[in-house]
Symmetry: C2
Subunit: 329 residues, 2 copies
Amino acid sequence: MPEKVTIATVARRARVSRQTVSNVLNAPHIVREETRLRVQEAIAALGYRANQAARQMRTGRSRLIAVRIEPTRDGINGSVLDRFLHGLTETAETAGYRTMLYTATDDQQEIATYDDLLSSYELDAFVLTGTDHGDPRTAWLAARGVPFVTFGRPWDAPESHPWVDVDGAAGTAAATAHLLAAGHRRIGFVGWPAGSGVGDDRRTGWHRSLVAAGVDPVGLDRQTPDGIAEGERVARELLDRATPTALVCASDSLALGALQAVRARTPAVPVIGFDDTPVAGAIGLSSVSQPLGEAAARCVDLLTAVLDGSHPATDHVLLQPSLVLRHTT
Amino acid sequence: MPEKVTIATVARRARVSRQTVSNVLNAPHIVREETRLRVQEAIAALGYRANQAARQMRTGRSRLIAVRIEPTRDGINGSVLDRFLHGLTETAETAGYRTMLYTATDDQQEIATYDDLLSSYELDAFVLTGTDHGDPRTAWLAARGVPFVTFGRPWDAPESHPWVDVDGAAGTAAATAHLLAAGHRRIGFVGWPAGSGVGDDRRTGWHRSLVAAGVDPVGLDRQTPDGIAEGERVARELLDRATPTALVCASDSLALGALQAVRARTPAVPVIGFDDTPVAGAIGLSSVSQPLGEAAARCVDLLTAVLDGSHPATDHVLLQPSLVLRHTT
DNA sequence: TTGTAGGCGTTATCAA
DNA sequence: TTGATAACGCCTACAA
């Protein structure tokens, strides 16, 4: 087991004071080159690394960011956040931050966790996902001046804090446009109940695309909580009542259900899902793909900008999704 | 923004010394009850929480455990580790530990990360996944006396360190037994190339089950790297050459491919996968399910035992998987 | 440009 | 049983 290497060990070896070593680390430009090189050589030779706990005590910064990990719901949509999490961890690492995980069952408990995390570990920032109308979490963090960024727009007040999001409406619009181009007119939409920002956004794209093409969308959409069985049920209902010739869905789960419903119909009824989850790839379901890696990277960008005190021109990033076509269209 | 509450704030309010507050926190039994209650009241009233960085400086312990997050490969098998990670975070929280994430591209880089994590953040322990024969990571950690537990057996030396694993052989044996009970004799196996501990383990269960039933397994299995296309290819090959009437697969990806291969065969060829990933649930694929939440919990148990210095009777845990039957059987 | 002194919040040691 | 003192490793002021 190697002995603990502190700033003092380095100082001794380089025959300078501890302060000079600290300067080499934090303000290299004020150290004479010859001295700096000697210190850097000592650092490398000893494998010295600054102790975060000690640094944090002085600076109050931990170089740690917190992200919530969700219970996997149906396991399909959960993969979206998992992919985001991976991208986040990776990008944060290259920016010199580590990622810390926490769980929470509801907003209030999550806020209690913020409090705990902040006072025990002095986290530098939070990355929130799944924001919705009137989110109490963002209000709490903002009130305390805690840096944070959300993956997902604040639907109420778009300017209130830094966020990164993917343009869901553009995604469903592209899906709808693709079907229109293929000659379809009566294109149905299977979505979530009105009221959720994300769900409404995705419905909007379909609606707007249809209207632009001169098709009346009335009666062509259905709403249901997420799930495969739910998707199948309402898709069947939609097919029976409104006879759409193609379907756009708000999620891959819904699309999977819709796929069951359209099975064996002639002519075939194309179905397009949302999120391009592994399931979609596995079964050949066309889907709208979110650039999750880039979204994560931009979140880190925004965060480091805030943490370094530099105020960038823009702190709202809206990314464009892409349509991945497979067998089902 | 609330003022920072330190042990001194609490001490002042409770009219005791800082040391007494510390004792109430870390050794309550040596404090007179009356004093202790007064201090606890002050702690509650002020919302005091011990600062981890300061505590860590003194004790050298961070109450942090590290887990690696993998790049999602095909996104199907990746979900296994994601579910494990969720369970781990949750259980660790209840045990008073937080989870820190890191990424690594190969074993050497991962070891470099250990070094970094250990000297910068003084992590208390590591949870490793995906161990294989002659894993350099466990050797490195063991040599330095760093506490760790692996999810996955050390295939070379079963006694060398604490581990938790799921009995893969029992899983494929159960799958095979189920098919045997349904009247099948020529049951094929689609697995990974020999040499990986996990893959060989899963093949063993199928092999043993067949032999026990008096069926000669020779020629009834194929090997391929993981993947849907790969699974389809070798399953097709197997069906053509060895005419199995049912298939057991080493993963859901392979099973998904096999499902393509057996499509439209009469009589139907049942397929059973492994891992019970969301995809399996979504498309009705029967699969062997690992108790990932429990595995994670046991990992935390083992870790806390090591960290608290108590040496439990057993530090090797082998959990039993369960067979989830769906349409494909 | 380099060195010295002090303190961040906590706990271990030892004395009262 | 409680309290005073020192120390963990680092960084910021200030002095040399």
